[in-house]
C-alpha cells in the first residue's frame, strides 16, 4: 500500500454465517502489519438470517471516515447481500461469490468476478459453519491482502479450541481455492 491509500472490503451474507467474526480476524491480521483499520458491520435485529455484512477500511494512515463508501473487494455468501452492496462497487472491484448460495450476479460493466464453491467446501470439510473461514482464505489469496501465516495467527488467536482444527482446514482450503482461481485467470489472460 502507498501512503494515503484506502482499501475497502466487504464480507456479506446473512446473519449467523460468522461474517463479523471473519472480518474481525482479518482486521487483527492486518493490524499486526501496522495498517490502520476501521471494521464496521450491518445486521438486522433477528439473531439468525437477514442481511449482514462486515466491512473493513484499511489505510496506511489514520482512517478519517470509517464506513465503506467504495468497495475494492466484495465476498458474497448469500444472494440477499447483492442488492445492498452492488452500487458500492469500485470499477475493477474483486467480487467473490458462492456457487451454491449466490450463484448468479447482476450484470456489471467492470468487475473481476470469481464464482467459488465456498460453502460446498465447508460442507465437505464437515460443517457449513466454516464457510466464513473458506471465504476469508479465498479473499486473502485472491486480493493478496497479507501473508498466509499472518492470517493464520489471527485465526488461531480468535478461535475456540474445539473449532481450531476445522477453522484452519477451512482457511487452507479457501486459500487453495483463491490461488487456483488466481492462476486460472492469469492463464486465461496469457492466452
Amino acid at each position: 500500500m502507498k501512503p494515503g491509500d484506502r482499501i475497502e472490503l466487504r464480507i456479506a451474507g446473512t446473519g449467523g454465517q460468522g461474517l463479523i467474526l471473519s472480518g474481525k480476524m482479518l482486521a487483527e491480521a492486518l493490524a499486526t502489519l501496522g495498517r490502520h483499520i476501521a471494521q464496521s458491520q450491518t445486521y438486522e435485529p433477528t439473531s439468525r438470517g437477514g442481511f449482514c455484512n462486515s466491512d473493513l477500511v484499511v489505510s496506511e494512515t489514520e482512517v478519517d471516515y470509517p464506513l465503506a463508501t467504495k468497495l475494492d473487494c466484495l465476498v458474497l455468501l448469500d444472494r440477499l447481500a447483492i442488492k445492498p452492496s452492488w452500487a458500492l462497487l469500485k470499477p475493477g472491484a474483486l467480487v467473490i461469490h458462492d456457487t451454491r448460495l449466490c450463484p448468479e450476479l447482476p450484470p456489471h460493466a467492470n468487475i473481476q468476478a470469481y464464482a467459488l464453491p465456498l460453502s460446498r467446501t465447508a460442507i465437505d470439510l464437515g460443517s457449513e459453519r466454516v464457510a466464513n473461514m473458506v471465504a476469508l482464505g479465498a479473499l486473502v489469496a485472491l486480493a493478496r491482502l497479507c501473508p498466509r501465516n499472518t492470517l493464520e495467527q489471527a485465526v488461531r488467536a480468535e478461535t475456540p479450541k474445539s473449532f481450531l482444527e476445522i477453522n484452519l482446514d477451512a482457511l487452507g482450503a479457501g486459500f487453495a481455492l483463491g490461488e487456483q482461481a488466481s492462476t486460472a485467470s492469469a492463464a486465461a489472460l496469457a492466452r
Binding site: 493490524a31 471494521q39 450491518t42 438486522e44
Partner: protein, 387 residues
Amino acid sequence: MNAADSPLAARPAVQLVSGNHACALGAVAAGCRFFAGYPITPSSEIAERLSRALPEVDGVFVQMEDELASMAAVIGASMGGVKAMTATSGPGFSLKQENLGYAAGAEIPCVIVNVMRGGPSTGMPTRPSQADIMQSRWGSHGDYPIIVLTPASVREIYTETIRAFALAEKFRTPVILLYDQAIAQLTETVQLGDGMPCAERLWASGAREAYRPYAAAPGAVPAMARPGDGYRSHTTGLNHAEDGFPTQHPETVERNLGRLLTKLDSHLEEIASWECIDCEDADVLIVAIGISARASRRALEQCRSRGLRVGLFRPLTLWPFPENALQAAAAHARSVLVPELNTGQLRLEVERLLGRDRVAGLHRIDGEPIAPEQIAARAESLAKGTP
C-alpha cells in the same frame, strides 16, 4: 478547551477495540466500580464487557430487572460513595428520565451512556441515529442542569468516558455520554494508554454539627457526606433547603434552585470542549457530531482539494453547548451546514446561536449514515451560493 490541546495524546501499543469496549475500558480506568443496567442494542457490549471487568477490580456489576431500577441503583451506589454508571439506548433512556432528573436535582454524580439508535419507540435497534440530542438535554421534567458529551471515534469514547466521570464527580451532576450506533459498534486500531487521573468528589470535612449537605456559594458545588463519616445528610427529590429537607419557602427555593441551575454555567471553561478544523478562513462551516462529524471530516478534505474554503466545528461537550466557541468559529462563514441523523435537532441549537438566515441542514432518518460525498456536494453548492 479546544480538544486538540488535550493532554490525552499519549501513544502506547496499538490494539483493535470497538466503541462500546472502549467505553467499558474508560469506565474502569476512571475508577468506576459499579454498573447497573439492562441489556439493550446497540449498547449491550458495554454491559457485557463490564460484567467481566468490574469483578476483576473488586467492582460490582448488576443486571437489573429493568431500566428504571438500573438508574435508581446507580444513584444509590453513587450516594454510597462509589463511581457508578449505566448504559442504554433510546427506549431505555426514555425510561430512565425520571430518576435522571432526581440525580440532577439531588446532585448525585453518575454517568449514563446513551447509544443512539433509530427511533421513535423501538425504532431500528441496529441502525444509527442522532435523534436524542434534545432529549439528552431536556428529557426529564423541570429545569435542571446536565452535561452531555459526544465522542466521534473509538479513542475518543475512551477519553470522553474518563472525562464524563471527572465532570460528574467534580460538579455533582449526571453526565450523559451520547454517541451513535455507528461509532459504538465500530472497531478501530487505537492506542489507548492508561488514561488520565480522574477528578475525585469533594467530601465533607470539618465540624460535623456545622455540615449542611446543600450549602454552597451561588454557582458553587456543595461537599457530599461520605457514608460512615458521621455527617448528617438528607436526600430528596423534593425542592430542598441547604439542610437537604423539603421546603416551599419561596426565597429558600429561589436561592437553592438558583444555585443548582447556575453551577455549570459558572464553570463553563472547565466543561466546554470542541474541535475546530480549518475554521479560520471558512466560507462554509460544517457543524456536526459523531459519525456525521467523521463524514464531515472527509467531506472537508474533498472540498479543500477542490479549492473550496470549508471548515468543521465539532462540539465534544454538546450540553452546555460551547456557544462562544461556535460563534467565534462561524465569525466569517457565509453559510453554516448541519448534517445530522435526525430532522434538525442540532440545527435548531445552531440557528439559535447564529440566526436562521445562514444555517442549512442536511438530514437523514432512514437508518443510513450520511455519506461524505453528500456533505461535500451540499457544502460545495453553499460555497458557490446556490443552496
